[in-house]
Symmetry: C2
Subunit: 236 residues, 2 copies
DNA sequence: GAAGTATTTTTGACTAATCAAAATGCTGGT
DNA sequence: ACCAGCATTTTGATTAGTCAAAAATACTTC
C-alpha cells in the first residue's frame, strides 16, 4: 500500500518533531505530535498505534513514538519532496521565501518521484532549500551540518547565516527586511540575559536587537566550522 | 467548504462526460459516470445525490446527471488546472506528451490557483494543452473551437491536426511516430467503410492507414474553418 | 507517600467514501 | 400488453480519519 497523505503527514511530523527534541535519542510525546498536526490527542494515539502495526514507528505507551528504519526513510522522502518543491517555487516560479511553505505542504503529497528528480536536476542538485533546511537525497539521507545559533556562536566574530528555522510568514518577512537571510555575513555583538535579547551587527553597520526566542531560530556557520567543512571537502 | 479531490474528480468526470455525449444537452447516465471514475454504480448514485444536495449538479433518477452553473465553473477550473499543468510539464519540465496525464491527474488537486496562474503566465497564456485540448480561462470559460475529425473532414484537402482525444500512452506514441501530432499538415485521401479504415497522406508523402475508431479521435482544422477564425480575430 | 495536576488512553460516536449483492425500475421486442 | 434483460437504486457493511469527553496513568509538590 502506498501511504496516504495523512500517513505521510504523521511520519513527517514525527521525523521533524524528534529532530527538534532537546534531548536527543528520545521519543516524541503524543501531545507534541497531536499539536504539530493540529489534531486531538486521542486521534494521534490511535493513528500512531496503527502506524506501529504497519512497522513504520515504534510506540511506547505513555512515553512517545519514534520512527523505524522504514518509517524514517518514508518520512525523509516526504521532507525531500517538500524542500525541493519549495526551492523550485522560489528559483523557477518566482515565489518569495515566505510564500512557499503552504503550497509545498500540498504538493509534497502529489508530486511523483520522477517530477521531484526533474526539479532537483533543474536546480543543480541543491543541498538546502530557501530557508537553509537541508534536502535529503534520493535515499533519504542528510549529511549533517554543524549548527550554531545566534544564541551559541562566538561574540564579535564574523559568521554566516545558514538557516532560519520557522515557517511563519511574518517572522520570515522580518528576517528578510533586516538582511538576516541565509548567506548574509553578520556578527553578534552582545547578549543580555536580563533583557532577554541579542544585539547583532549586520551589513552596512546596520544594528538590530532581537529576542532570544527569535535568535535561537537563526542558525550560522562560524569561520572555524567552515574551515573544517572545507577540509572535509578537499580531503575527499 | 472547499471541495475534496473526490468531489473534484466527480465534477470533472461529469463535465467531460457530458461534453463527450453524442446527443448534446443530455444527461450523463450513472453507468458511464461510474465507469469513467472506476467506481461501482451504486457509489456513483450515492455521491451524485450528495452533490445534488450541495447544488453542484442536477440529478434525474434513472436518467442521469448534469452540472449546475456552480458545478460547471468548479469543474472547468479543475480541467484548467489539469491542462495548464500538462503543458507546463511538457514545455518547462521536459516531459513527453504521453507522460503528463497521470502526473496531472494528481497535481490538479494540489496546485493553488496562484501557482496555476504563474505557470499560465510563464507559458504565455496558451489556448490549448499538449494534446490540443482547450484550456479554460480563469473564469472557467472555453472559446469553442469548430471541430472536424479525420472521419468528417473534406477529402484531398490540406487540413491541420489540432487535437488528439485520447490519453492512452500507446495511442499517443503511435500518433507521434506517424507524425500526426497537433500542428502537422495532412490530407485524407480516402475512407473505406468496408475495411473500416481511413488513408492519410502525411508529410514527406508518408502514407498511413488507420481504423475509423482511431480516426475519430484525431481532430483537424480545415482551411475554411481557419479562414473563418481569422476573420473573427481581425474583425474584433 | 498522599493529593492534585497534567498527560495520555479509551470509549462512543460521527463523516466521507467505498463495495457487493439484493431489490427495483425501465425498455425493447414479440 | 407482457416479459426478459439491463441499468439503476437500495441496503447493509467496511475502512480511514476524526472529535469530545470520560477513564486511566504519570508526574509534581508538599
Ligand atoms: Mn516548509
Ligand atoms: Mn523550508
Ligand atoms: Mn490529461
Ligand atoms: Mn490533455
Amino acid at each position: 500500500m502506498l501511504p496516504s497523505s495523512t500517513v505521510e503527514n504523521y511520519l513527517k511530523a514525527i521525523y521533524l518533531g524528534v529532530a527538534a527534541l532537546t534531548k536527543p535519542h528520545r521519543l516524541l510525546p503524543m501531545g507534541q505530535l497531536a499539536c504539530a498536526l493540529g489534531v486531538a490527542p486521542g486521534t494521534a494515539t490511535t493513528m500512531v498505534k496503527t502506524l506501529a502495526e504497519s512497522g513504520l514507528v515504534e510506540y511506547e505507551p505513555y512515553t512517545g513514538v519514534a520512527l523505524t528504519e522504514a518509517g524514517e526513510k518514508l518520512a525523509a522522502l516526504v521532507v525531500r519532496r517538500h524542500r525541493v518543491v519549495e526551492l523550485f517555487l522560489v528559483q523557477v516560479m518566482g515565489y518569495r521565501w515566505d510564500e512557499v511553505h503552504d503550497e509545498a505542504e500540498q504538493l509534497e503529497h502529489a508530486v511523483s518521484d520522477r517530477l521531484v528528480d526533474r526539479m532537483d536536476e533543474m536546480l543543480g542538485r541543491p543541498a538546502v532549500d530557501p530557508h537553509g533546511d537541508p534536502i535529503p537525497d534520493q535515499e533519504g539521507v542528510i549529511t549533517p551540518q554543524p549548527a550554531q545559533s545566534l544564541l551559541t556562536c562566538p561574540l564579535n566574530t564574523p559568521v554566516t547565516i545558514t538557516r532560519v528555522i520557522d515557517q511563519d510568514k511574518s517572522f520570515l518577512r522580518f528576517i528578510e527586511n533586516h538582511h538576516l537571510k541565509p548567506g548574509e555575513s553578520i556578527e553578534v555583538e552582545d547578549r543580555d540575559s536580563a533583557s532577554d535579547s541579542v544585539r547583532v551587527r549586520g551589513k552596512d553597520d546596520h544594528h538590530i536587537t532581537i529576542g532570544t526566542r527569535a535568535a535561537s531560530k537563526v542558525l550560522v556557520h562560524t569561520p572555524a566550522a567552515a574551515a573544517i567543512l572545507l577540509e572535509l571537502v578537499t580531503s575527499a
